[in-house]
Symmetry: C2
Subunit: 237 residues, 2 copies
DNA sequence: TTGAATAGTGGCATAGCGCCACTATTGTGT
DNA sequence: ACACAATAGTGGCGCTATGCCACTATTCAA
């Protein structure tokens, strides 16, 4: 038998295969609190329970795994995420009552502007939950564990990369930038150290505007257009 | 319908699902050259081509993804890896001619002692190939890309973590340790900087022995028993 | 005893974060 | 106009870990 005939006759339905899915922990700031996106499960198992957005790959529609992630989040919320990164893949016999299951876990960051523009409401059965309020909910599957892994990744990268900047609106002050890092890390940072770091990284540009306040207005910045991630030479905090 | 009935009737064979596999880039030093393990494919597609060890999850045998990796490498070589780490998961419609395919890529490190003890030979259709000789081979699937990703991860972590130490035999001199980092990074390192770093990390212990050479013998060290990975405060080189 | 070869150390320069006090700018109340 | 409150932004030194280079220490062999 040659290879083309083999491929013609190949039928995956004959094999015992795992369930393969993606799940996303989508972070965004609501005021000064880190929130993440949950969706109510519309089908069994765990029907009616809160869970991370995610689900099966649509072989006919998705070109790759990232496509699946984008499609799943968009279907639930209409949201276009500003940052997307793969965290880890968890696969074992126990995590899904339907059987052996593999999920590819993603982390995404969404700026508050985009979040408010989007339709997260009753109809979509989605909601933003503060990280601290998660314990009160019993998430479906092992999604508690998945959230833990994503949070750990976010916190870890906040120490040495520019990643948390994607949680900011399009323009922002340096103080707001510092605050975002502080919220993610859970510690206060030194103003001078933070500004020096960010300045030397050369990843921001001034808009020329200043934020109107009661007192001296702070200069507004935006991420340089091409910027995705900067790695600092040392950790902070 | 309640959930237990739903689960009883659930049959994954009815759905269009991707192929889900694992692949491993298993590194080891042969002399002073970084090599990786390849296995000749025994089945279609790419029958007879060289490929990374890996394959399908055995739902009846494997408890989780790591089990699959260990089983696959052991089946091909009898090798028990000293270090194992997940790199990234690649999934798309094009990488496998049988259809939509997801692979979870692992990196593993093997010390030269264990490698020599194990049966990597004609019968198993496996071989160790120098990284630089890879271009001459046309690896199956997208395994060139997978190797590239694993190498990038190894090089990157050599700059700030103790990971390359797992490429050493059970006991080793500080010079040998330095040499391993140099081989992985592809640059020379300063003797003093390297030793100071390793010393302050406190991850080694002296055996008390010295290596017998023609001249002054260097002290022998081993990894502290519980050690898996140390993160240095700054990057080297 | 001396030299070759490798093992291991002393000591100062440098880069980037920690820290604290200082100056600068703007709105408000008198 | 002027002083004050409040926030924005900077100067400058200390600390830590790496870069660098020269120096001392140990061992074997001639």
């Amino acid at each position: 038998m040659d290879e083309s005939r083999f491929l013609e006759q190949y039928d995956i339905h004959r094999f015992d295969v795992p369930l393969t899915t993606i799940d996303v922990v989508c972070f965004s700031l609501v005021g000064e609190t880190l929130h993440l996106l949950l969706a109510r499960r519309a089908h069994m198992p765990f029907h009616g329970a809160w869970a991370l957005p995610g689900g099966f790959i649509d072989l006919a529609v998705d070109g790759n795994l990232d496509d699946t992630v984008v499609r799943k989040v968009a279907a639930k919320t209409g949201i276009r995420m500003s940052y997307l990164e793969q965290v880890e893949t968890i696969g074992n016999a126990d995590r899904d009552p339907r059987g052996w299951s593999v999920t590819c876990l993603y982390l995404s960051l969404l700026d508050p502007q985009s979040r408010e523009d989007q339709q997260v409401d009753q109809k979509h059965e989605t909601r933003w939950v503060a990280l601290d309020d998660l314990d009160a909910l019993a998430l479906a599957f092992d999604h508690d564990l998945l959230v833990e892994k994503a949070v750990a990744r976010l916190r870890s990268k906040a120490r040495y990369s520019s990643l948390p900047l994607h949680l900011l609106a399009e323009t922002f002050t340096l103080q707001q930038a510092q605050r975002v890092f502080e919220l993610v890390l859970g510690t206060r940072l030194e103003k001078k150290s933070f500004r020096r770091r960010l300045g030397e990284a050369a990843i921001l540009e001034e808009t020329g505007e200043t934020l109107a306040t009661r007192t001296r207005g702070a200069a507004l910045y935006r991420l340089r257009p091409d910027h995705r991630e900067h790695l600092f030479p040392r950790t902070i905090g």
